[in-house]
């Protein structure tokens, strides 16, 4: 605290943060503003706090102003809405951008499957895509069978698989179920935990063990 504020001895307690922020953002009533201004005139500490807050607000705004949704997000929204409205999924691939490619590279296989899932919905994935057969190591992996909810779209499915480290490796069977492989080395405990988690997901209509 500075010499000035010690000698001035403000009559009231310091302004709280909520009030300072409201003051900074011009959200105070006339009466409140007058009282705040009176306090600020005689209190260095609160004036400094207001200056600090303004600086923090500017830096935060500058930081977040640099972040924008990916350009293709609107197309995702449109595609999902059209799917809901007409029950017809538009045969449009999501637009790409440089920013997406790093992510796409990592999950290209999952994206491909997931996009196709939406595009052809309940059609036979194997027949339509002729995807590569499983590698030898995948035969040793643990599996969960799932049926996706009709509302689940490619992105949600891809995100879901990515989060649990799952790979979509075959399907659908006659009941519309797809087989998901757990990451190599996953144990029984992970299997049970993943199964339980999947059963709580809105994108998953059904999850079972082989």
């Amino acid at each position: 605290m500075t010499q000035a504020s010690q000698t001035m001895k403000p009559q009231h307690a310091h302004l709280d943060e909520e009030t300072l922020i409201a003051c900074l953002q011009n959200r105070l009533s006339d009466q409140a503003r007058r009282s705040v201004e009176a306090h600020l005139r005689q209190c260095d500490a609160c004036r400094q706090a207001l200056v600090d807050l303004r600086q923090l607000q500017r830096q935060l705004q500058a930081h977040y102003a640099a972040h924008h949704p990916a350009p293709e997000t609107w197309q995702q929204v449109q595609a999902r809405i059209e799917a809901h409205r007409d029950k017809v999924v538009p045969l449009r691939k999501p637009a790409s951008s440089a920013r997406r490619w790093t992510w796409l590279g990592a999950t290209a296989a999952a994206v491909l499957f997931a996009v196709q899932l939406v595009l052809i919905q309940q059609a036979d994935l194997r027949q339509q895509t002729g995807y590569a057969p499983l590698g030898a190591s995948q035969h040793e992996r643990l599996h969960i069978w799932v049926r996706f909810a009709p509302s689940a779209d490619s992105r949600t499915i891809t995100t879901l698989l990515r989060h649990y480290g799952l790979t979509l490796d075959s399907g659908p069977d006659s009941a519309g179920r797809y087989r998901l492989a757990l990451p190599a080395g996953a144990d029984e405990q992970t299997l049970q935990r993943t199964l339980k988690a999947l059963r709580q997901r809105p994108e998953i209509a059904e999850a079972l063990l082989p």
Binding site: E17, E18, I21, A22, Q25, R27, D52, L53, L56, Q57, Q59, L60, Q61, A62, H63, Y64, A65, H67, H68, P69, A70, T73, W74, Q76, V77, Q78, R80, I81, H84, R99, W103, R155, T156, T159, H163, A197, R201
Partner: protein, 199 residues
Amino acid sequence: MSRTVDDSRLRIWLQQVAEGDTRALRHLYDALAPSIYRFALSRLDDPHEADGIVSEVMVQVWQQAGRFEGRASVLTWVLGIAHHKVMDVWRRTRRDSEELDTVRPARPLDQALSETVTPAVEGEHAALNEACQACFDACLAQLPPAQRQALYLALVEEQPYQDIARILDCPTNTVKTRVFHARRFMQQCMAAWRREKAV
């Protein structure tokens, strides 16, 4: 961030969306998607997940526009929807981070310092400011996500505490505490950086 579109305009678009107008949805998207995205980012710190949140929220806005009761602003309502989706992702993917207010180990400040504090002899002032922004970013990344999110709503979206509490579905006192701790953390983190710089 100063809002370029006021709430009354957003309400008109929302009403049109409720009647099935996709052009109005596009207007809403343009006005709100950056806020939804940044809000998600403030908690999840993952651009891909934040994009997913934007998409899910806008689809829900499309489906539920007619349910808007007008008790809060459209932005508050939409960010409330976003919050639930953000928390779904949070619970699903950050199972080890149950404690909302613990500091998440992020990029160490020392590392940020060594990468950024190399001002050239000429234009030292500009370089210092630039370095300062980089350190600000580093401090922000170290802030506990729940606090960062509250700070974002208070200072970037300029939401009153009462509305922040509504968005985050928590008591106003929790908002107060989070903003307070967030500010103190940022102050101390930046002060540490300035001390380092002065050496």
